[in-house]
Symmetry: C2
Subunit: 235 residues, 2 copies
Amino acid sequence: MPRPRHTAIREQIEGLILSGVLKPGDRVPSEQELVAEHGVARMTVSRALSDLVAAGLVVRRRKAGSFVAAPPSEEKLLGVPDMRETLPGHAHAVLKRAVRVASGADRARLGALPKGARVLALLVRHDSQGVPAAMEDRLVSLDAVPEAAGESFVEAPPGTWLLERVPWTEAEHRIRAAAADTGMAAMLGMAAGAPCLVMERRTWRGDQPVTAARITWPGDRHEVTVRSSRGPLRG
Amino acid sequence: MPRPRHTAIREQIEGLILSGVLKPGDRVPSEQELVAEHGVARMTVSRALSDLVAAGLVVRRRKAGSFVAAPPSEEKLLGVPDMRETLPGHAHAVLKRAVRVASGADRARLGALPKGARVLALLVRHDSQGVPAAMEDRLVSLDAVPEAAGESFVEAPPGTWLLERVPWTEAEHRIRAAAADTGMAAMLGMAAGAPCLVMERRTWRGDQPVTAARITWPGDRHEVTVRSSRGPLRG
DNA sequence: TGGCGCATTATGTCTAGACATAATCCGAGG
DNA sequence: CCTCGGATTATGTCTAGACATAATGCGCCA
């Protein structure tokens, strides 16, 4: 079958959003404009926009128009709540911060990077009411997010900061249990060898790696929740 | 706005699928039939069916018709692979099997059950190439799945068996790290106190609890992977 | 009996209209 | 300057057609 026209229209707008040309809150072309641009009936562009709504990339408001949707909260991405929202009395401290040319190990964590690409490496401790709650060891590709090089991450922790700025297309989480080594145990105020929940999260924009984070939680202080549902749908 | 007609049509079919009247592989009414039944234009029922396809409840084949989709594999539910597919040389053994009236503890795990409801309690060990790989402690509500009472679970482990038969609408996973107690350590062939990944999965059909499983993996032999993506969409 | 090709059929996409509805914009009146 | 209400506008839904396409299955022919 020839490629449906509504698919072409949808992909054009997807491209604008995922490439960053259109940012959250920006207006996307109205039905009228798309009808004129592509020379199709209104139902056809309506279908394209409806599909984008279903995918969560676009929100539409009568009379106002169609807009790029805010990216889903980390909460929705996986049950991993945004730390600032969930941990009571959350604070964080940036323990290390370095910009460097990606090493072999960095490449292994982030995936295919161009030769000589620079990365930002961060080590952050998250506290809840003065008690250490998690350690975050993160790499950010400066190819994908150049503006991260000038960010101190004092205001917002890197997870939150990135999620607000960088549109992503793909995310992977790997969760395992591990025993705390002595360094980790000291930083988290727990016994060496005690069980920890280790989560590695990687995100991509298209084929381009964006960030890789390893977050370690004391096993007795945290759990990850994932909820999924199958129909009835929104609507 | 008055309730859209395509929504009413969609929900009618959703109801047939989720209530179990239509099972995976069954034919759903054709566009023609729905047009005649509801007195609407074909595009309207087409929209309803398209939404069901997007939700993964229905698959459509030209000339053949529309059919109830096979439920997603456990693989897709969460990155938790179906044990039979992923563990090389998988075998399982039912260690305990009991039918009883739900106790207070059973109620706490499964959620709201009618008074006097019966449950099936199972304890299953999963092996990979002769080595213990996981312990599964599961409750099944016999209100939701009466046919489970007569099933031995020798052929297929309970997770696989249930997934093939019971349509679900909601699933929740909680993942945490814990130290193995002596009993668990003995059954899994690991040291007491060693880290384990504990996953509790609960599923519902509508408001009705279906099953609750607690699966314990040795921390060094397993990890859970979750992948999510945001557009480009299928199609 | 067996295999091939074509008619049939259900879905997939699209059009050019129509009316409904929510929300914004803007002007009139206070 | 502020507020209320109506005109405007973009989206939401729907119709009655149309043509395209894939796949089934039947009949024809060997």
